[in-house]
């Protein structure tokens, strides 16, 4: 295999090969399409840029990635015939919002908790959809009802949450001393700082959902008893 590939490489006139490599790397790493001027500025002086571009273009012609000219700028793009399968589910990754991150953290550290308890701990009300999003991501789930008047729904983290953050168990999350040692908390702490040592959920404190209860409905309609 290596022999074959090396032969391919050797198909380029050797004096061009090094410049071709540089051109490939530049176009690959560039954060925007590059015009001839930008390319020339980064290549050794006196190169025949058009010739190099043609070599690269030809090399990638039938591959999964092509060299494309748009306007007077050059860039690599995935091959057009493959782009439907790339594009179909092309998505922009978004970082979880601050509110959702905080809510998730509080549920993880203080679980099992009710919605009202999370709001109390956070000191602000939920924006609608925060909990929905966390449940959609399958990081948080309703695990039953609290054995108190009103029987509010209580929430906890999921297996998926542990897998995503590569934790074996909830109690592996760092506690106060460890957060402090890791520099995540300032060394001078207010006396009333309330940091939980995260613990596994004690199932005896929880009343499981009834068989006739449709959890999805309860959550979506917001009819949980608070």
């Amino acid at each position: 295999m290596n022999d074959k590939v090396n032969n391919n490489v050797m198909n380029f006139p050797s004096e061009h090969m090094e410049n071709v490599r540089i051109l490939e790397a530049l176009l690959f790493a560039a954060s925007e399409p590059l015009d001839a001027e930008s390319l020339k500025a980064r290549l050794p002086k006196g190169v025949n840029l058009n010739k190099l571009l043609n070599i690269v273009k030809a090399h990638y012609e039938n591959r999964g990635v092509n060299l494309i000219k748009t306007g007077n700028k050059w860039s690599f793009k995935t091959a057009v015939d493959l782009s439907p399968m790339m594009k179909k589910e092309k998505i922009v990754q978004r970082k979880l919002s601050k509110a959702a991150t905080e809510t998730l953290a509080i549920i993880a550290y203080h679980q099992p908790v009710t919605r009202a308890e999370v709001e109390d701990i956070r000191g602000v009300h939920f924006s609608p959809g925060t909990l929905d999003l966390l449940m959609e991501l399958n990081w948080v789930r309703p695990i039953g009802r609290k054995k108190v008047p009103g029987r509010p729904i209580i929430y906890g983290t999921t297996e998926r949450f542990l897998e995503y953050f590569q934790l074996e168990q909830v109690s592996d999350l760092p506690g106060l001393e460890e957060l402090k040692a890791a520099g995540l908390l300032e060394s001078r702490l207010p006396p009333n700082l309330d940091i939980r040592e995260p613990v596994e959920i004690d199932q005896s404190q929880i009343e499981p959902f009834g068989e006739d209860e449709n959890i999805e409905d309860l959550i979506q309609s917001g009819h949980e008893a608070e």
Binding site: F28, A29, M86, I91, K98, G123, F165, N192, L193, D194
Partner: protein
Amino acid sequence: MEDISVTYDTTNDPVGSSQDDLIVNLEGFEGPLDLLLTLAKSQKVDLMKISILQLTEQYLEFIAKVRDKNLELAADYLVMAAWMAYLKSNLLIPREETGEELSAEEMAERLKFQLKKLEAIRLVSEKLMKLPKLGNDFFNRGMPEGIRLIRTPEYYLNLYDLLKSYADQRYRVAYSSMTIEKPPVFAMEDALIRLQRMIGDVPDWTRLEQFLPTEFSKGKSARSGVAGTLAAAMELVREGVLEVQQLVPFGPVFFKNKKDDSFLN
């Protein structure tokens, strides 16, 4: 092994330089072990073969010089000095082995090993940082077109952000709930309402303290009660419904209903 044990004395630490130079550089040491390592390397032999006795002398001499110059010395340097002095005396006068505590020789060997270990980490951390680095020597695709792979959720979050978020939030809440605890104040507005309601029933001179609400009549909060009530009283005097009297400086203050007074007269 050869590599590790040989390379240490080829490093370019200020080993050959005098102790005075080292003293000037005291700030640059990462604790007593770092200082010991630098001193040990001046012996120019394998770290496992250094003379601990000599190293002890070097360290104690260094600490003495620093103290002569009245430079600030962190406590752990002094703890180490005390330990080194203890080690030295034990090395000079071998004691009976108790079986429980480490012998002086063992302590010395342990120290050598610790120094060698630190030195080894220094060497590999240099090697590590000399590796080609992403974003410096090699690069990722500059314009990833993005694809959704089955395992890739639309939202992402890393463990650091999760932990940081929790720590920050807890910290913030702890501080905000502390600032909420303002000292209670008997506002002039409240005092005015109270005084207006009460003054109709007091035709005779009555001490200010009698008008204080119970929660502002004792301890520190009484000050606020007196101040608020007095301010309210002044307002009622201005409106012509109240008379105020104080017979001696800093003496008790008395209030009296003015309307009733004028009726009687």
